[in-house]
């Protein structure tokens, strides 16, 4: 008798314990993400101020970090997508610095900044920088979620989160770029897809495809996760309707952007045409790599080429780790990024959740390597902040 009487009570205790454990894990992730986010902001603020003291920068307020591509997002926040460059210049004669159309810049990030601008009555530049910063917080949290099965202690969480918070290219998270939003959405897409929460994964993928051009590639990783969930056997009779809808959601953001461009400028592929006017068109990625190694006079292209090769090796290693969906995604992103040239390829690599995941796996068992990696990454991050104001375009 006592055994039967105790059973429901024990079940109740277990459920409560599970809930508490779940909450403690969520709150631990939140606190760690918040602490690292504050640290990342302090780091950027400190170095930007040091650079200003020494005359190498002009940093006084948060919005001063809005440079390079952020100015293009700013044009979208202020005026929307241009109809044409001639019309844009004629309508806004104060912006003769506009040399091309702003179509290559995807809409979701400036939309989030517009929301903040309205709520807090910020300047366009300020709203973009703030949006990027807040999205960095989400990016750290999303990355911790993505790795949640592998993080046990607070130290694990801090180390994993620091890969995002103190990314060597962390400047893009503090300068009104779309990188942190994209990172958040891709990390969440992988997180939900691994848990077979297809609608959520598809929705995140759809948002990612409205954030950056590479976002739609998640459809392939989604498909791989789905097939894996079905043990690599696709049964048309037992097709999961939610999974199909999720798959259709993945490229939806990009499709909507194309529709908007079709309505606005008469060409659904206008963003691609604009890339050409920016000097970026689809080519052979191997040729890009060879070109990088030939451009020794410019210093940076060989460094970026080495990064691309390292990232390719990482994508292969992800297959070996049993993460083919991540390996495939990283490989496809690299292919797309290098096929349009070598500019900005560093941030394409360093703001990819699968790449940072691989680094986590590589370093997690070696405290010494962690420290050396952290030192080098932080040094690079400081250098990038310092050079952000230099006017040298290797930082774009």
């Amino acid at each position: 008798m006592p055994r039967f009487a105790e059973a429901p009570a024990l079940a109740g205790i277990d459920a409560g314990a599970v809930r508490r454990r779940l909450w403690s894990r969520i709150s631990a992730n939140l606190w760690v993400a918040l602490a690292l986010w504050v640290g990342s902001n302090l780091f950027t603020y400190g170095i930007a101020n040091f650079a200003t003291w020494e005359g190498a920068a002009h940093y006084g307020r948060m919005k001063d970090l809005c440079l390079w591509d952020c100015r293009w997002y700013q044009s979208i926040v202020e005026f929307g997508y241009f109809h044409s460059i001639t019309e844009a210049r004629a309508t806004h004669p104060e912006h003769q610095d506009w040399v091309a159309v702003n179509w290559p810049f995807y809409p979701l990030f400036p939309m989030t900044a517009s929301g903040l601008r309205k709520v807090f009555r910020l300047s366009p530049a300020g709203s973009l920088v703030l949006a990027g910063k807040l999205e960095l917080l989400l990016a750290i949290y999303a990355f911790l979620l993505m790795l949640s099965g592998e993080l046990e202690t607070t130290e694990d969480r801090v180390r994993a989160g620091s890969l995002v918070a103190f990314n060597p290219y962390l400047i893009y998270a503090h300068a009104g770029y779309s990188e942190p939003l994209y990172f958040t959405l891709i990390a969440l897409s992988f997180y939900f897809a691994r848990r077979s929460r297809w609608l959520a994964a598809g929705a995140m993928g759809g948002l990612a495809s409205a954030t950056r051009v590479t976002g739609f590639l998640f459809s392939i990783s989604y498909l791989m996760e789905w097939l894996r969930a079905q043990e690599w056997r696709l049964s048309w009779r037992a097709l999961d309707r939610k999974a199909v809808i999720g798959l259709l959601l993945c490229p939806l953001g990009m499709a909507l952007f194309m529709l908007h461009l079709r309505a606005r400028v008469g060409d659904a592929l206008a963003f691609q045409q604009a890339e050409i006017s920016w000097g970026r068109w689809l080519g052979n990625p191997i040729s890009t790599l060879i070109l990088c190694f030939q451009q020794t006079r410019l210093h940076w292209p060989p460094v970026w080429a080495v990064m691309v090769i390292a990232a390719c090796l990482v994508s292969l290693w992800l297959f070996k780790l049993g993460k083919p969906e991540m390996g495939t995604y990283l490989a496809l992103v690299l292919l797309l990024a290098t096929s349009t040239g070598y500019w900005s390829v560093a941030r394409y690599i360093w703001w990819q959740p699968p790449f940072l995941y691989a680094i986590y796996r590589l370093l997690r068992r070696n405290a010494g390597a962690w420290l050396i990696y952290s030192a080098l990454a932080a040094g690079m991050a400081a250098f990038m902040v310092l050079e952000w104001f230099s006017g040298h375009n290797f930082v774009v």
């Binding site: 190498a56 801090v158 405290a367 010494g368 420290l371 310092l386």
Partner: protein, 389 residues
Amino acid sequence: MDLNETIESQSPREPAGLRSGSGLTRLVRGYPRIWAAVVLWLASWAFVSAFSNLARWETGAQYDGMASLCRWDCNWFSSVLQSGYSSAPWPGTGDANWLFHPLLPLLAYPFYHWMSIPAAKSLVLVSKGAFLLSIYAFLLMVRSYLSDVADYFRAGALVAFNPYLIYGHAGYSEPLYFAFLCLAFYFAERKQWLLSGSMGTMVSATRMVGFVFAIPYALFALRGVERENYPRTLATKFLGLLLCPLGTAAYMLYLYLHTGDALAQEHIHLSWVHFPPQNPFALLLVFLAGQHWARLWGLMCLGALVAAIYLFRLRKPEYGVYLLIAVLLSISGGLYGLPRYIWWQPPLLYAIYRWMQRHPSWWVPYIVFTSGMAAFMVVEWFSGHGFVA
């Protein structure tokens, strides 16, 4: 149990998990302290080379090899190495190189005079070599708190990725001072009085503040002295104590013979900073009320004073006293060189290590911040701005 097993079992305590493997792996892992020090030293060297090159690419820094790092005070050491100490202030500027203690140029002497390596490169080589010794010596100093390879790397990284690591690679005396001071503390803790005193001699021949080690030495020696009834031990302790300021004394004697003024280093310092030593607390308030670097350095001094108090709490009064006196002396001399006087103090890094040991989650953020600062300093090293000197 054969002889090998006996030796193995009686060998000094090594971290668990290091005995496996064979050949080179076993050789390397058999000496984790050396292994960690060498890896961190190479990483630190790579760090400085990488950011010097990036500075060359993007800021036009004049960097074309390690000798290019010899700037600012290194040029003064270079003048000592090449032509010795001047016998009188130089005409026109009124400067003299007496402020720069002799041990660093003495160690660079064979490279320059016997191997014909340029003076700048000789000094940089010696400082880099001393930097390796610094990491190793610091690992010795904190040895009681190191239990595995991860601990070795953590402790060593405090030195290797010091926010002011540039001074460890640029022909300055900081790493030499740091290494000998760590060894002086290490031997004093082990009651090896003559060795500790000898290291104290080296410290006092390296930097002006080095003679202060006589005070923590005396504190170490006085521990349990009432129970000592061996005159020989007391004599050894006393001899060690006499050795501590010997470097400074010998240098003063040399200056007296060479320039006619045993305190020439102090007097030339006055002509550099234009005011006599002042009340450090009053100066600290001035720094904190200032702007930019003055305020930041003031905050660093404050942090170092808190660390000194923390060392007392950790029952390490010898370290605390040394740090307290060294920081207050540095503050009283003015702003010049203040951050490196603070960040190249073994007791400060010891206090940081002990604190971080209790809060291991802070390791990565700490290294991130110090390395960010280190990269900034490397890039600015070539800027010509005096705040780095």
